[in-house]
């Protein structure tokens, strides 16, 4: 079977989640460059998976899919988009066989032949019976993904389920572990494996929890998450593997900045004819997560063009390529590290010193301005301070990336240097003032 990359489903879901209901079926389909028929088929497939994975989910046939998966803060404990990672298609017979094999190994370690017997006696009558070769290849696969373990000892080998992590913990310990996993999956990146583990632990806890009072597994909320961020983690691991193995990577790239991004008229990436994208082959060096927007970037090196930056959401059909010499990789990585040392996000432009004066809130108020600057100001420093204000200074590559952050403080922040940035800020505030000028008399 061809390797499923889920590029299309990811693109489809991302657009659905980000534009929450903006487009009609026709508009949505045309923006993705697909037919309405393909749109309907994709929705149906996604709906089927969602309803199987989330059996408790309020779900009606008539309900719009966008509504089903839309973000709701107080119900955000289970990341709904996780269902995508459950979507790998599998034949009914294979899904039944693997489940039966795991169930048999749950009791005690078994040999391949014993497992073959157990499987044949419980498989649905209509399904094809597996042969020894199939069972052996299933065992090999399950051992490789770590769900079973071969017992030490002579042939014939015995296999057992590898879930000691759960079996050897008491209920109290499981609860502590669940909390830890929930907190880490929600506050750290990467998170997909954490969410998958959380799912398993949650099921185990609700099975063993006998008091019957309430739901023990959903006490936490996180304010606020970038809801779609786990979609971008889908490609992350391929890239991390390539970097670790010092291998080049090739992919078809659709720059979200270009007119082909789905904001534009004729649009989108992934469903369009492949010739619309740009085939890239590059040496991946680092992956960057930007907390400001909840987006991922790949930083890479290209012999002709030097340092290259890509948004993960624009990368499709990713494949590992040839490896490069360690020496070459280390050299390029060193150069990159030097270049991004002063990047607010990923800008590798010329470093400039930005100085800004921040004004404290009124006397009786807690100083949330300073608190926020200390929390979010990255490597910048507070250089001087008086009763009413303080000066913050940072050396940063270019001013484009830091500007939105400075602006978000409103009138509590005055840019002092560089002059060009100060002038830009003045111009922007003037324009913003005109946006709301008509309200002036009400103030």
């Amino acid at each position: 079977m061809a390797k499923e990359s889920f590029d299309k489903e990811i693109q489809f879901l991302r657009m659905l989640v980000l534009t929450s209901g903006a487009y009609s079926r026709q508009q949505f389909a045309s923006r993705l460059g697909i037919s309405v028929h393909t749109f309907d088929k994709t929705i149906k497939r996604l709906k089927d998976i969602v309803s199987t994975v989330h059996q408790g989910l309020p779900y009606e046939q008539s309900k719009e899919f966008a509504e089903t998966i839309c973000y709701s803060y107080y119900d955000s404990t289970d990341p709904l988009l996780l269902f995508l990672f459950r979507a790998k298609s599998l034949k009914e017979s294979e899904s039944q066989r693997i489940s039966l094999l795991l169930a048999a190994m749950q009791e005690r370690p078994l040999t391949a032949m014993e497992l073959l017997d157990a499987c044949c006696s419980s498989l649905d009558a209509g399904l094809p019976m597996p042969d020894e070769k199939t069972v052996r290849s299933d065992l090999k696969y399950m051992e490789a993904v770590g769900v079973i373990k071969r017992e030490p000892g002579p042939r014939p080998y015995r296999y057992r389920i590898h879930n000691d992590l759960i079996r050897e913990l008491s209920h109290e310990e499981l609860l502590d572990l669940y909390d830890f996993v929930d907190i880490m999956a929600n506050t750290q990146v990467p998170s997909v494996q954490g969410y998958l583990l959380r799912d398993g632990l949650k099921k185990q806890i609700s099975r063993s929890h006998r008091s019957g009072r309430g739901d023990v597994t959903e006490p936490y909320l996180y304010k606020y998450h970038y809801y779609s961020r786990i979609l971008d983690e889908a490609h992350l691991f391929t890239l991390l593997d390539c970097i670790r193995q010092r291998r080049k990577v090739s992919f078809l790239y659709f720059s979200p900045k270009s007119a082909r991004s789905y904001a534009a008229r004729s649009t989108n990436p992934l469903f369009e004819r492949e010739s619309e994208g740009r085939q890239e082959s590059t040496l991946p060096l680092k992956v960057v997560y930007d907390h400001q927007y909840g987006r991922w970037y790949l930083l890479a090196y290209d012999t002709r063009q030097g340092i290259r930056k890509y948004r993960l959401e624009g990368m499709t059909a990713i494949a590992a390529g040839e490896s490069v010499a360690e020496e070459q990789f280390v050299k390029r990585r060193g150069e990159l590290e030097e270049k991004i040392r002063h990047s607010w996000l990923i800008d590798t432009g010329r470093p400039v010193t930005v100085r800004a004066r921040f004004y404290n809130p009124g006397h009786s108020m807690p100083n949330f301005i300073k608190e926020r600057v200390l929390l979010q100001g990255q490597w910048g420093r507070i250089t001087d301070e008086d009763e009413n204000s303080f000066t913050y200074e940072i050396v940063v590559n270019g001013t484009i990336e830091i500007k939105p952050w400075l602006r978000s403080f409103g009138s509590s922040c005055e840019v002092l240097e560089p002059t060009a940035l100060r002038l830009e800020m003045i111009t922007e505030w003037k324009e913003l003032q005109t946006y709301y000028e008509s309200l002036r008399e009400n103030i």
């Binding site: 998976i49 770590g146 830890f180 009072r213 904001a263 004004y359 978000s408 409103g410």
Partner: protein, 266 residues
């Protein structure tokens, strides 16, 4: 490592769930092993559990991200786990009430304040934990920083009592919800993706007018998050304009006017 392994297939998962079998892959163990190296691990787990887990994960490969993955523009991480989480989550789980002692900003102390805990909430911006709860005597929803809590005790409640309180809390939270409509300035439509990403942390509806090629995003949030919404809107600058949401629009006008005063442009 491919997160789309067939072993994660929903058919397999639901079959295993039906038969009560628990499965863990090397991916998940590798992730956990990496997370156990985080300084929060010894706070969240007892020394016995932690060493048991480390033993169970001995020989596993932690997902190696060090030096490969960089996080930018992240808030400093001052608190990931708080020691009050353990007792409070157990009270929430058993659906009982509680008595809290805590200090407020002015330093004033409150002791034995009785109420019903709803959820523990982590602020990704402030990187701090809070408890959202209902104060019995004041009949008010409260949000208290765990760091300010000095004492916690459990108050037994009858099932029907906690059921009633949960419903009440839900209604109160819903009452606090407000909304604002933000229009994407059409000249910035090519930056739509960036703008939508920035708002993807809120509950929202997007409306598209094909004739005017104009997008309007209706955000829905709790009234005590207005400041955060405003800072997002200022963050995006000229790209967006609030078209509905009286108080927020006035605040934006004020922001711009006061900012210009700072620059001597009044």
């Amino acid at each position: 490592m491919n997160p789309f392994e067939k072993i994660f297939n929903y058919g397999i998962i639901s079959r295993l769930e039906a038969t009560g079998i628990c499965m863990i892959t090397a991916h998940e163990r590798g992730w956990l092993k990496a997370m156990l190296q985080h300084p929060a691990a010894p706070d969240a787990l007892t020394p016995e559990t932690l060493s048991k887990l480390q033993q169970l994960l001995d020989g596993e490969m932690a997902i190696g991200i060090e030096g490969i993955m960089v996080e930018k523009a992240r808030s400093m991480e001052r608190q990931v786990y708080h020691s009050h989480l353990r007792p409070l989550r157990r009270i929430i789980g058993s659906r009982n009430g509680m008595a809290l002692s805590y200090a407020i900003r002015s330093g004033k102390l409150y002791t034995g304040q009785e109420g019903f805990p709803y959820k523990l909430e982590y602020s990704m911006v402030k990187r701090e934990w809070y408890i959202i709860w209902y104060h019995f005597k004041n009949r008010m929803m409260m949000s208290t920083k765990l760091d300010k809590i000095t004492g916690i005790s459990e108050l037994p409640l009858e099932d029907d009592q906690s059921e009633r309180l949960s419903v009440q809390i839900q209604a109160r939270l819903n009452k606090r919800r407000i909304s604002a409509a933000v229009q994407v300035m059409p000249e910035y439509n090519r930056e739509l993706s960036r703008i939508l990403y920035a708002f993807s942390c809120f509950e929202k509806d997007v409306d598209y007018d094909p004739d005017a090629d104009c997008y309007t995003i209706t955000l829905s949030f709790s009234n005590n998050d207005s400041e955060y919404v405003l800072s997002k809107i200022r963050f995006l600058g000229k790209r967006v304009k609030i078209v509905d949401g009286g108080m927020l629009q006035r605040r934006m006008y004020e922001s711009a006017t006061k900012a210009l005063e700072r620059y001597g442009m009044a």
